[in-house]
């Protein structure tokens, strides 16, 4: 009985628990509630995924109102994958935040954090389950507003400006998205995404639809931090509390990529998005620029969080590149990288959080010799880095493999060359950190530093192990991505 309500439970649990955190106030109670909420919604997400893989797309009518009038929750392989990413990363990050927050001087108000965190999870999951365009916008705003709060919690006062910057850019992005949805509603008279997709060809592709399309691509591009709309991202990631950075880096941009995918492929349809309009080429050019320019910028950063933030912008380039191929393998590669990048960036940011926890900074110079004091932490960093570079037996390798195969399938060997060239830049910016941590003499005041507490180390290692695991047993992410890609391509 309950299992038929799984799709809605995924979002209802965190939504109900968010105010509970505030009601109970106590930091232990709030932590406990958040943990239970997130873990149970992860369990629900797993069950939903299992059902999607066996039964195919699930449709759930919210409140029993049938679509297109009522709101429909619609979960296919792509949605399931996003659900898994968001709830999985949240489950790893939640226990981590308890100790990590000590540092951010918000301990006495930590219930606020947990509440905002749950809302953010709820919003992101909501985007991933809903089949209704306007509902999608609402959930997106829930997640965005709560993430502005989360970023502003950073102990560095620059977190406030970073959050403000993100607020402005994010709001513009969200507004564009809602304008696009409004235009689509005007054109088709429905908000259900499947329904819009059905009615658009009948309506014809007039100027309204083209405008809607443009607003959607730019709006989603802002939320994705697609180069050159990424300006908000490095600051936000750098000054947010470590645990927030890890969570947002692994999930928020991924969900926005999902929005782009959903609208380009399902709502507007492959034919309109890529044949009527020349979308693929500009996307590819931006993707290639994203793969290089932010990567090169990352090589010159002193703050390691910032290095990884720029690297995130570059990695988003890979996903968009895969999408811009508009073939099955490319799309699979892009979606696969969504999953794998969440794993690697999540792991790396968690490790950085552990380092910040001990030495109060993640400046590359401050990290000199840190490997001697925190060997397990740095080993986890190396593990995450190898995946980021794309060494075999890690998740990063698998997505890169698919991406290159896709490029060769298209006959674009020079794109394949560019892909490896940009991953070589990743070697440079990652190795700078590793060299500093392993080879330089630690400063004297570092002598009392010891290994990070297990509550920080274990979550980081869980993700590192996941990176290796999904580099060897690829059946789950590859299987889901392929299903998702097939569905997206077929939907056109």
């Amino acid at each position: 009985m309950l299992s038929s309500h799984l799709p809605v439970l995924v979002i209802v649990i965190p939504l109900i628990c968010a105010p509970l955190c505030i009601l109970f106030r106590g930091k232990d109670q709030a932590f406990g509630i958040a943990l239970v909420a997130i873990w149970s919604s992860f369990a629900c997400a797993c069950l939903v995924t299992a059902r999607v893989m066996t039964e195919g797309t699930i449709s759930y009518e919210l409140g029993g109102w049938p679509p297109p009038i009522g709101i429909e929750l619609r979960i296919d392989a792509l949605n399931a994958l996003i659900l898994l990413i968001v709830s999985g990363i949240a489950s790893v990050v939640a226990p981590y935040s308890r100790n990590s927050l000590l540092l951010e001087y918000v301990e006495d108000r930590s219930y606020m954090f947990y509440s905002a965190f749950l809302l953010c999870v709820c919003g992101l999951m909501g985007v991933a389950v809903t089949g209704d365009a306007f509902n999608l916008f609402v959930f997106l705003e829930i997640s965005s507003l709560s993430s502005y709060v989360l970023i502003a919690l950073g102990f560095d006062r620059r977190a406030l400006t970073a959050s403000y910057q993100y607020l402005i850019m994010g709001t513009i992005g969200a507004t564009f998205i809602v304008i696009s949805i409004g235009l689509l509603y005007q054109a088709t008279g429905t908000l259900n995404m499947a329904d819009i997709a059905k009615r658009l060809p009948e309506h014809g592709y007039d100027r309204t639809v083209i405008c809607a399309f443009a607003f959607m691509v730019i709006g989603a591009g802002l939320k994705i931090a697609l180069f050159p709309l990424h300006q908000w991202l490095p600051n936000a990631y750098t000054y947010a509390p470590s645990t927030v950075t890890a969570f947002l880096a692994a999930t928020a941009t991924k969900v926005s990529v999902y929005i782009l995918l959903r609208f380009l492929f399902t709502v507007f349809g492959v034919k309109f998005s890529f044949e009527v309009l020349p979308t693929a080429m500009p996307l590819m050019i931006l993707a290639v620029m994203a793969m290089f320019i932010p990567s090169i910028v990352a090589c010159f950063q002193k703050n390691v969080k910032r290095v990884l933030a720029y690297s995130s912008v570059a990695q988003i380039g890979y996903m968009i590149l895969g999408i811009s191929f508009v073939n099955l393998t490319g799309l699979t590669a892009g979606i696969l990288h969504l999953f794998n990048h969440a794993l690697m960036k999540g792991a790396l940011f968690l490790v950085l959080g552990a380092i910040v926890y001990r030495i109060g900074s993640c400046n590359i110079d401050r990290m000199a010799g840190i490997a001697r004091r925190m060997p397990w932490t740095m080993a986890a960093f190396v593990g995450g880095s190898l995946s980021l570079i794309g060494i075999p037996m890690t998740a990063g390798f698998i997505s890169k493999w698919y991406l290159i195969v896709a490029a060769l399938e298209k006959g674009w060997w020079y794109i394949a060359v560019l892909i490896v060239a940009s991953s070589l830049i990743a070697v440079i910016y990652v190795w700078r950190v590793i060299e500093s941590a392993y080879f330089r003499e630690p400063p004297n005041d570092l002598s009392e530093i010891s290994e990070a507490p297990l509550s920080l180390l274990i979550p980081a290692w869980i993700l590192v192990v996941a990176n290796v695991y999904f580099g060897i047993d690829t059946s789950l992410p590859v299987g889901l991505s392929e299903l998702a890609a097939r569905a997206l391509m077929g939907a056109g």
Binding site: I389, P392, I404, V420, Y438, F439, I472, V478
Partner: protein, 511 residues
């Protein structure tokens, strides 16, 4: 059925050993016993596979499917068998040597050293046994990464710089070129399995064959073809056992082994000769042979000289692959074994000299032979084998490669081989000669007195300066160093005598 178990064990045992070495980190004796037992057991497992391979079987083991159609799979053929035998046997010898060297040199972080060593061997064996290019590529990258901590073992600035060169070249070539080559092959041929006669025939046009060959040959940075050879001299900052086993045997041989494997089982030797795609490679390899030998002549540091010698010798094997005739391929494969034994002997000697007298430069080694006669005698044997003179193993492999050059009607490369031998004499024999034909102890003591305090810096080195007065007592390296280097020197001789068996074993690869 049993054979599968042995394949798995050969690769897993060193990894299990790694964990046990880690656990016994605080107890050096136990740690080193574990290393040696692991090495011994691994060799036993490898040798269990030999009869089957000699009987013409090709035992297979499929571990897992990583991506649809891409298996982590192992399949043993004669070439891989040979490489695995060499690597696992020399690991035992090197383990003994490492004990003497690392202790004699008071190296720090020895546990990490032995652990990384074991992982490196495991990945070398995985390369040897890999059944498809995909598996080989994975093991190849693991080998690069596991040897990085060994190269940068001393953690000094110099080591860090060397590590940068090492990782920079090996990673950028393998990710930047080899990976594209592998994926391209997969895309074009639809398989990556090592298949007799190659998998590319009829799948790609002639121009693409050249491109692919380029991607492979320069993607396999471990084969140290010029101009991507710089990582090998850089890697010489590592402790000598690493230089000996990894940078004369396991790592570099993994490189040339992969080259041969790719030429024989991916391209197919006939396909290469028909399309003429490998002609450029002959010239590049030939040039590397000569240029590296010339550079070796200019090096005063013994290990650096040996490193350039290795580059030149590796190019022999690449040349053999490029000629792609049946004689040259067997010769190239034999050269993997011959050069392994010869060069490891030379490195062992260099390390022994370093441990016993703290000397690294050839110019410092005047008269040292009188003090370390056993070491220098072994050095001569190793040198002669590398030069390729009978009665030492190296002569056979050169013979076959030269025959191959004649078969391919590329007489110029016969000349290259001969000139190279002369150059080998020119840079290896003086080391030996300086050891024995330099001034004797008494004269050296006299000279030391004349120089006065100039030599005081070296006062801590036994046998030089102030210690010279103790006379011409033999001051050899520890037995743990000496026995291994004589074992490998004897190996060079044995390989000359039993070369026919080696040839018989390798013959099937070109049938």
């Amino acid at each position: 059925m049993d054979l599968k178990v042995y394949i798995a064990l050969s690769i897993l045992l060193p990894l299990v050993g790694t964990i046990m070495i880690w656990m016994s980190g605080a107890r050096p004796n136990q740690r080193e016993v574990v290393t040696i037992i692991t090495a011994g057991l691994t060799f036993l497992c490898v040798i269990q596979l030999l009869p089957a391979v000699l009987a013409g079987q090709q035992p297979e083991l499929v571990v897992a499917e990583l991506m649809p159609g891409l298996n982590l799979a192992f399949k043993i053929e004669p070439l891989g068998m040979l490489f695995a035998l060499i690597a696992s046997f020399l690991w035992i010898v090197t383990s003994f040597y490492a004990i003497g060297y690392m202790r004699g040199h008071h190296e720090p972080n020895q546990t990490r050293f032995y652990m990384c060593f074991a992982i490196a061997i495991s990945s070398a064996l995985a390369i040897a046994f890999s059944g498809n290019m995909f598996t080989l590529f994975i093991a190849y990258e693991v080998l690069t990464l596991s040897t990085y901590p060994l190269v940068t073992h001393s953690q000094t600035d110099e080591a860090r710089r060397a590590g940068r060169v090492y990782l920079g070249i090996l990673m950028s070539t393998s990710i930047g070129l080899l990976m594209i080559g592998v994926i391209w092959t997969w895309h074009a041929a639809g398989t990556l399995d090592f298949t007799e006669g190659g998998i590319l025939r009829g799948k790609v046009d002639d121009g693409l064959v050249i491109v692919l060959l380029f991607l492979y040959m320069y993607g396999i940075g471990k084969a140290a073809l010029m101009p991507i050879h710089r990582w090998l001299p850089a890697a010489m900052v590592a402790p000598t056992p690493v230089s000996a086993l990894l940078h004369a045997v396991a790592v570099v041989k993994a490189g040339v082994f992969t080259v041969l494997k790719v030429i024989i089982y991916i391209f197919g030797a006939d396909f290469l000769t028909e399309t003429g795609a490998s002609v450029w490679l002959m010239y590049v390899a030939g040039a590397t042979v000569l240029l590296a030998s010339l550079v070796a002549l200019t090096k005063d540091n013994l290990k650096a000289r040996l490193a350039y010698s290795t580059i030149s010798q590796l190019a022999y094997i690449v040349l053999a692959g490029a000629l792609a005739t049946s004689h040259s391929l067997v010769g190239g494969a034999m050269h993997i074994a011959m050069h392994a034994f010869g060069k490891i002997t030379l490195f062992f000697c260099a390390g022994a000299i370093m441990v016993a007298s703290h000397k690294t430069e050839i110019s410092q080694m005047r008269g040292l032979g009188w003090k370390m006669p056993y070491t220098f005698a072994a050095f001569l044997i190793g040198s002669l084998s590398v030069i390729g003179l009978p009665p030492l193993g190296g002569s056979w492999s050169k013979w076959y490669i030269a025959l191959g050059a004649v078969d391919a009607e590329q007489i110029i490369f016969v000349a290259v081989l001969m000139i190279s031998s002369l150059l080998n004499i020119a840079y290896l024999i003086p080391v030996f000669a300086r050891g024995f034909f330099g001034p004797r102890e008494e004269e050296e003591a006299q000279m030391a007195d004349d120089r006065g305090h100039g030599d005081a810096d070296h006062g801590d080195a036994p046998g030089s300066g102030a210690h010279a007065a103790t006379g011409k007592r033999i001051q050899e390296a520890p037995l743990f160093c000496l026995v291994p280097l004589w074992l490998t020197a004897i190996g060079c001789i044995a390989l000359f005598v039993y070369a026919d068996r080696l040839h018989a074993m390798l013959a099937p690869i070109v049938k």
